[in-house]
Subunit: 587 residues, 2 copies
Amino acid sequence: MLRTHTCGQLRLSDVNQNVVLTGWVQRSRDKGSVLWVDLRDRYGVTQLIFEEAKTDADVLSAGRSLGREYVIQIEGLVVERLSKNDKLPTGEIEVKVSKVKVLNPSKLPPFTIEDDTDGGEELRMKYRYLDLRRNPVRESLQLRHKMAQHTRMFLDGQNFIEVETPVLIKSTPEGARDFVVPSRIHNGEFYALPQSPQTFKQLLMVSGFDRYYQIVKCFRDEDLRADRQPEFTQIDCEMSFITQEDILNTFEGLIRHLFKQVKGVELPDVPRMKYDEAMQFYGSDKPDTRFDMKFVDITDLTKGKNFQVFESAELVVGINAKGCSEYSRKQIDELTEFVKRPQVGAKGLVYVQYRTDGTIKSSVDKFYSGDELKGWTDKFNAEPGDLILLLAGEAFSTRKQLNELRLLMGDRLGFRDKNKFSALWVLDFPLLEWSEETQRYHAMHHPFTSPKPEDIKLLDTDPGKVRANAYDMVINGTEVGGGSIRIHDRATQQMMFNHLGFSEAEAKKQFGFLMEAFEFGAPPHGGIAFGFDRLCSIFGGADSIRDFIAFPKNNAGKDVMIDTPSTISEEQLKELGIEVKVKSDKL
Amino acid sequence: MLRTHTCGQLRLSDVNQNVVLTGWVQRSRDKGSVLWVDLRDRYGVTQLIFEEAKTDADVLSAGRSLGREYVIQIEGLVVERLSKNDKLPTGEIEVKVSKVKVLNPSKLPPFTIEDDTDGGEELRMKYRYLDLRRNPVRESLQLRHKMAQHTRMFLDGQNFIEVETPVLIKSTPEGARDFVVPSRIHNGEFYALPQSPQTFKQLLMVSGFDRYYQIVKCFRDEDLRADRQPEFTQIDCEMSFITQEDILNTFEGLIRHLFKQVKGVELPDVPRMKYDEAMQFYGSDKPDTRFDMKFVDITDLTKGKNFQVFESAELVVGINAKGCSEYSRKQIDELTEFVKRPQVGAKGLVYVQYRTDGTIKSSVDKFYSGDELKGWTDKFNAEPGDLILLLAGEAFSTRKQLNELRLLMGDRLGFRDKNKFSALWVLDFPLLEWSEETQRYHAMHHPFTSPKPEDIKLLDTDPGKVRANAYDMVINGTEVGGGSIRIHDRATQQMMFNHLGFSEAEAKKQFGFLMEAFEFGAPPHGGIAFGFDRLCSIFGGADSIRDFIAFPKNNAGKDVMIDTPSTISEEQLKELGIEVKVKSDKL
């Protein structure tokens, strides 16, 4: 090793040792008679000292010529600091330098390598290797490492076997778009990159592997949105001979293990909520349960009073923003503007202020009497000081709008603390969802999810009402994982494909191998997959997954550091038997 | 859980317990009055018993109707067996069945699910999920799981951080062919799948990550040979602030840890051999050191005696097959045929039999006297009973031919026992190798490998003689890993690209980001990558890597189970902006 110690290692007990350190020059302070240099590596920072009176002149001059981010090797004596720095684990000592060697100089970095950098997003992505030197980014990736370690430790301990499934698989039309890979040996044919190892993990269950897991890269060629990545990582799991209850218990165990080991947090038992209930009370299948603020439906109380908006509404529903009764006109206008934004889409906002003096004021008090409004506040269990916010309209979209408002109020009231964690199971998802675009039902989870047996009869009459044995884990209002009990017999799987609009020939071409496998003794099985990037970001208390991925793509799916995607040679194209035909509407 | 115990769990101490088991019907033996069924799961086999006199008639009849590979759930009482089976951990008990439920029937499998199956390769690949049920295949994948676990445990313990590098990267012309992925968002542009995370792990070192590892999928679009896979897995590692010695010690530590933990084998310190020495004494850069049989060069002793073959030969070299002096004419003819096969390519074989009676007999004794032949056997340290086998010709190819003969003799003499393990470091590889095809030098390892400083001066005058700071680990004659100390400054990297025939513009387009990174304080660093599939197969004592990969491709790069690669839709092609142009010479 080019060093005897790391930059995070030396303590008072090491005083008088001669040591060799390597690292990067974080900063220098030259006081004339004394020069201090902070030397940084992954493990910490150690202060180096050069003294005009005592340090060899060549060494001092070498020390003075060190620039930011130079990589150096120094030799020196560990001494006790005169003025200690209790913020640094090495803050009680410094190293009196007797030799300096520049291992590699550095140009001036395009942004400062500090916790708060002056570099913009674009620049930091281009020089990602410099951005990765900053503590918050490095710590995010160290957290990810720890998450992976403890995930494996937990699952290994539960007899799960890690099995690698292939990356070069087959394109299937269901779900999101596949990335494809042209075959050179078989011109005109393509592999596809997996959106998930779904069929392979089910085949492993047919093989009797019993308990499988993998921390695995998956790929989706979607139109990119902020914080979506074309490649992402899943904790992918599957179990045989289980009920849904076993899956919930096992993976609740995993999440609680991770909170304990990685964050030191004792997560309580994870509560469960039905999908219908989540939609009814939170207008979302991933409610943020760090705070209550449940929806209250007052439709019945609003009818027959000539207020046209409520009169014509399928649903009048609201939340109680506790302690907000004294919101100013301006504050309420802001909320109204918020719900009227096209992204939210409400027509307006009705409020009822239950003032601290006990009086009630509302934007609709010309339609409703004080008693009537008091009836509303009672339904909300409101107290003096509370503010009721109401939306009205078509039931489903109104709930979605109110969900946005609820989250905004949660933010405003400080309920969405990133260091507080609330996990939730959402159960009994619908099996199918209607797509306006394709005018047919699609699998809400995926085509391998089993319907609840008692609902199968509804498949022909009311497909949207069929519930699935499907579940999501939600933490702090974000879906971090989801899964289902699978279909494990050919007949049911064939029936599902029929209902999803696959012809028998299509189903056979795409999934024939799986249906055939179901005929050779497929055990009952089910599983779950967690979005690992997202899970890490929640553990790290971050909004974006970007810093939990070492080399992320930007929102256009580009890696601007290595400059990809990029053109390839004519020779490569020829070997692959393909021709580029840039579409005219893209020029 | 649908079971109270697994099929590998019950012991004598469980007798009189009522249990529920699930699993697959391995086989049934119906003796009329008694029916035995072996129930199998991943954990073992448990014998079920149905008795005509005691079992409920319906249950007995259900038991009789069970076919091979049916998945069933049974309830029953654990009883002590009358005739115990000491080959089975559960062999002291059996379960008296009181309830049977068929969870899923099975068609008759196309081959038997036994340790030795009657299924051919093709059929087993098509029904891989059934092949995976067989013990040897499942055990191979369980071994792989254990290898991965212990690899991570060791590296975690040494402060390595696991970092995931991207799969959608950039195509580079150096090395093997890339698989590419057309971009839909950026028509006409492509991602490439990584042949290794090489540049990314080096960037992580520039970032100060200090110690990185990843068990990671890599991809190479090569013309497939037996036992090559288009996707394969590497244990990929990199370290900063190290010398070659540190790398060798660290990863020798890993391999010894794996042998200890996975095989219970105490591997001795791994010896080291220079590349030149390996070529000289074994004719291979990956000598099988389970046995000695070193090459002996007797060129000098053969000259001036009018034996034209030796006279004109650059090299006369041989091995001593100890104890083989009494080989028959037929046996020696076989060896001669072997070396003359086109795959080996020798012109002929000369032998010297040092017979057990002390006499010497040779195929060239009309050219050489008894004393002269005795001089040869002395040089081989041969004893009565030994057989000297000699090849002659151009030095490099003759050594390669003799390597093949040495391995054959090693097999014949039982020296290549799969349960014996001999590891070796091969050091000081050449930096460059000449390609007849492209008529230029290529990087033997890769373009990022550093030359030995003392050899740099030879780059212009004798490039083939420049040695690299590069090393391979060889186990039992197979290269299982290789790596190098990297270049970490822009000037040297630029010089290397020049010598590899990159123009400055090409180097910049392909690797500009890396050369730029080297200007921002890149630390000295180096690393290694192990071929994980191969390493597992050696630990498993297998010749093929096939069974250590859950879902391998066949030799044509196809997965015949899911049928990929395959055609994709016109719509997909259109969105990707490409057109398939099947080459006419492929039709």
